[in-house]
């Protein structure tokens, strides 16, 4: 058992008395009460648990908390800044992307990591970035539309 200070969504959060091999997913959900990050498979196959580690999309179900302690963690709860939705979140609402909605936090985190490095993704770029996120309801077409729409509305983007 060990104690950690995690940097989550810009806050330093203490977690105490957890096993070092506990996946970050379960620390977020059970210890920190941040349940937006979802459990789907536990083996990094479905992407429902996607968060950002130092800005890169990662599967939190397969990452021990001990490895996350030195990293900057962003979860779906931290995607909106100061109450203002990320353009992707707004696009998800505008295009009514979700059906059951269970995978969508993970989808958004993968999409946000993509747009952070590629503000004008092609369909192929989107396919490559999003192929790790399963949607059992089959909202892929809307996800692609919403990513293009959000990319066009990124702050600072001209033309």
């Amino acid at each position: 058992m060990a104690n950690y200070t995690l940097n989550v969504n810009g806050q330093a959060l203490e977690v105490t008395d957890v096993d070092p091999d506990t996946p970050l997913l379960w620390v977020l959900r059970d210890e920190l009460g941040m349940v937006g990050t979802k459990f789907g498979c536990g083996i990094a196959q479905c992407g429902a648990c996607t968060v950002h580690l130092n800005g890169t999309a990662a599967r939190s179900c397969s990452l021990p908390v001990s490895a996350a302690a030195d990293m900057v963690v962003t979860t779906i709860e931290g995607l909106a800044l100061n109450g203002e939705l990320h353009p992707l979140q707004q696009a998800w609402i505008d295009h009514d992307v979700p059906q059951c909605g269970y995978c969508q936090a993970g989808q958004l985190m993968s999409a946000a990591a993509l747009l952070a490095t590629n503000s004008r993704p092609s369909d192929q770029d989107i396919d490559n970035a999003m192929a790790g996120n399963l949607c059992r309801c089959g909202t892929y077409q809307r996800i692609r539309l919403a990513i293009h729409d959000a990319a066009a509305k990124l702050p600072g983007r001209t033309g």
Binding site: F39, I93, C100, G101, G138
Partner: protein, 755 residues
């Protein structure tokens, strides 16, 4: 509960057949002027927020008692608050089919409330108060359509009456729009909120006039889901998100072969592990839809429970457990295919004669569909809190909450009054959560835990202990005459039975009248093999596999006749008799969808070698739906599904966005399932555990999908399911058109196809 007490069905087959009967409602069209003779609603007063509130009046003692005792918010279905906000309860489980948005939209339309003024809240679970609360059978829209329109129109009528009295003008001079009553002649208008208190003092109307389709302002528009903001910001909505103070975390290990009992387990070792609070054996009641035997581990976190489960060693008594073998079943089916169906269902004309008549072209094919799992992305879970007074409170992502209450009552041996079930949002249904096994397990575990406990299945649990879509085999035979017309059709379904009498859920030879009534000689029947592996309803049960064999085989017959697929399909549809019942398949609606799909897909266009189009049509859940797929096939059998065009007639559309989304999703689900998904089993044990063995289609394989809706005047019907069945045969027919290869096994991966 007084009214809706379900008995606990003795077998899983009984469970599903009683569920299907319950869902078998008649969406017959109704006149626009409705006499409210049943007094469908009651007025409620004294609610938080004040104003005017109506509840359903389904005649139960409980509702009448609440009314007499002046009211709780409990049964207020629609409320106009004094501040002008309109609160509408969503009464059915939200599983991604969009009812939490769509049902309130129906109320708001007749109420003439601005959608921005509407707040939607999930209703409590109480079928005495709300009527059926089920997400299943694509029935939420057809079943609630009339009642909800009447609710909205009744409230509107009372508000108009209140305004008429206030202004001393005839009600006929008033109109309503955007949550306001307007008197054009005097240029006055007043918000509903200001009228609500006065309206609440008026009598309920005895009749209301409902809008016609052309008058709709809200219905038919694209409305974003009411939970979307919470979903995209990660707010707790789902069953798995529930959390209570001092909550424990549980896992439950059942025998991998259904029917196995716990002989012994290393409980002492498990209890010694860090984070583990307790471990115990549950005997259960040996009902697969309630509590099967197993070992529960109680821990102080989900992960501690998961980790302890990996160290669990159980010796199973498998004397009564399943020994089912998919390999053996496939061999048996090959032999049975040579014989006639054990249970003939339909025999018309002289089928044998038509199959040997000179000049007739004969086609015989054997179609296989493997078992599949639902694989909803939210693994099964339930939170339960058994309290010292013997009551239990439950939070569950279920499609059939009232059946969950019933199952808990039966398996715990307590009365339903002791049970409160809170409906959560559901992370995928697809039919999996029509059963409440996890709910009952959580209740059984909670009874032995101090404080609340959340039972969480792993993905592996979810795959191994599903209620699978049953596999099976269609022995297809048919003939076309010298002029290329369909003259004989036969489908012998080899399927499975749990109870020795009837087919398991989804294992029936579902018949819509087509094509057996479209030709003079038909023979339809079933042969059932005994099975213990649990099966259940999977999105468009039975239809999703019958359509595959039927519409692929129609494609084969068209090819044998050297006819164009669309032309042959239209001809066979036109050969059906005129429709006689409003809820049945209607050949005119069918033909219209096929023509529309073909036209929009560009049927007949010139395509490069290795690329082709396939068409299919299927009628299910009152929905008439045609689909056209455009597919390329390489010599190595690698597929690219370029486009899928969907044409659907489900009557007037409630939420256009949801309707399109559900049809797009059905196409993806259909393609995913037909390409690579299979559950196989040997010695009663399912062989697949997680997504690396169960390849759900990924976004980079998804086709472009175009949806076209025919908004007919028919009673509106649901779209959760009927988009799925036509997809697989449309793709199969396209593969044949592109390559000359006829796929006859789902998943296609079994025949070497990849995508």
């Amino acid at each position: 509960m007084t009214q809706n007490t379900h008995t606990s069905p003795s077998t899983l087959t009984d469970y599903f057949s009683s569920l299907m009967q319950e869902l078998d409602v008649d969406p017959a069209p109704a006149a626009p002027i409705r006499q409210l003779t049943r007094r469908s609603f009651i007025k409620l007063t004294g609610l938080l927020g004040g104003g005017l509130a109506l509840g359903f009046n389904l005649g139960s003692q409980k509702v009448m008692a609440n009314t007499v005792n002046s009211n709780t918010e409990f049964s207020a279905y629609v409320q106009i608050r004094a501040d002008g906000s309109v609160v509408i309860q969503a009464k059915n489980p939200e599983i991604g089919q969009g009812v939490k948005t769509a049902l309130p939209m129906i109320v708001a339309e007749e109420l003439d409330a601005a959608w921005e003024d509407v707040e939607v809240i999930q209703s409590p679970i109480d079928e005495d108060v709300y009527g059926r609360q089920i997400a299943g059978g694509s029935r939420s829209i057809p079943e609630n359509w009339d009642l909800l329109r009447e609710a909205g129109a009744s409230v509107r009528a009372m508000l108009v009456a209140a305004a008429a009295a206030q202004w001393s003008v005839p009600a006929s001079e008033l109109r309503t729009e955007n949550t306001r009553v307007i008197h054009d002649a005097s240029n006055r208008s007043v918000g509903y909120g200001e009228l609500a208190e006065a309206a609440a003092k008026l009598e309920m109307p005895t009749s209301v006039t409902l809008k016609r389709v052309g008058d709709y302002r809200l219905l038919g528009r694209r409305i974003s889901g009411v939970d979307n903001h919470k979903l995209v910001t990660g707010q707790p909505l789902f069953g798995i998100d529930q959390s209570l103070p001092n909550m424990s975390y549980a896992v439950y290990q059942k025998c991998p072969a259904v029917g196995g009992k716990v002989a012994s387990a290393n409980l002492d070792h498990i209890k010694s592990l860090k984070g583990v609070k307790d471990a115990f054996i549950i005997e259960g009641n040996n009902k697969t839809d309630e509590v099967m035997p197993g070992v529960a581990i109680i821990a102080n976190s989900t992960y501690a429970a998961f980790r302890a489960k990996r160290e669990l060693e159980i010796e199973w008594d498998e004397s009564e457990a399943s020994k089912d073998s998919w390999t053996a079943f496939q061999a048996q089916a090959q032999e049975l295919a040579l014989k006639s169906a054990k249970n003939p269902l339909v025999t018309t004309g002289d089928f044998a004669g038509a199959m040997t008549a000179p000049g007739h072209k004969i086609v015989e094919s054997f179609y296989t569909h493997h078992f599949v799992a639902h694989a909803a992305l939210e693994p099964q879970n339930t939170t339960a809190w058994y309290k010292p007074d013997g009551s239990i409170e439950i939070w569950a992502p279920t499609q059939t909450p009232m059946r969950g209450v019933n199952g808990v009552a039966n398996s715990l041996g307590i009365s339903q009054e002791k049970i409160t079930l809170h409906q959560t949002r559901v992370g995928g249904g697809f039919g999996r959560r029509l059963t409440n096994d996890t709910v009952c397990e959580a209740a059984a575990i909670a009874k032995r835990v101090d404080g609340p406990v959340k039972l969480q299945w792993t993905r592996e649990d979810d795959t191994l202990h599903d209620f699978n879509r049953v596999g099976g085999f269609h022995v297809m035979k048919g003939a076309v005459d010298a002029s290329g017309k369909l003259v004989a059709y036969s489908d012998h379904l080899i399927s499975f039975t749990e109870d020795g009498r009837s087919a398991v859920s989804g294992g029936q030879l579902r018949m819509t009248g087509y094509p057996e009534n479209a030709c003079a000689n038909a023979s339809m029947g079933e042969t059932l093999l005994p099975l213990k592996i649990t099966c259940g309803a999977f999105r468009a049960p039975a239809s999703n596999t019958v359509a595959w064999a039927q519409q692929s085989f129609i494609g084969e017959l068209a090819a044998a006749a050297d006819r164009d697929q669309v032309e042959f399909l239209l001809e066979t549809l036109a050969a059906l008799p005129e429709p006689t019942e409003p809820r049945g398949m209607n050949k005119h609606r069918a033909i219209a969808t096929v023509k529309l799909a073909a036209e929009k897909a560009g049927w007949g266009k010139v395509m490069p070698a290795g690329r082709g189009m396939g068409v299919s049509f299927f009628f299910s859940h009152f929905g008439h739906i045609a689909e056209v797929a455009e597919v390329s096939v390489t010599d190595a059998r690698k597929l690219t599904v370029h486009n899928v065009t969907v044409a659907a007639d489900v009557g007037p559309i409630v939420n256009l966005s949801t309707s399109e989304n559900l049809l797009e999703g059905a196409v993806i689900d259909g393609l995913s399932t037909m390409m690579g998904l299979e559950i196989s089993f040997e010695n009663g044990r399912v062989q697949q555990e997680n997504f690396h063995q169960y390849p759900i289609l990924r976004s980079n394989k998804a086709p472009k999908i175009a949806v076209h809706l025919i908004q007919s005047d028919n009673h509106p019907t649901g779209l959760g399911e009927p988009g799925l069945p036509p997809l697989a045969p449309a793709v199969g027919n396209a593969i044949f058109a592109a390559s000359g290869i006829r796929p006859r096994t789902m998943p296609l991966s079994k025949e070497g196809f990849t995508i």
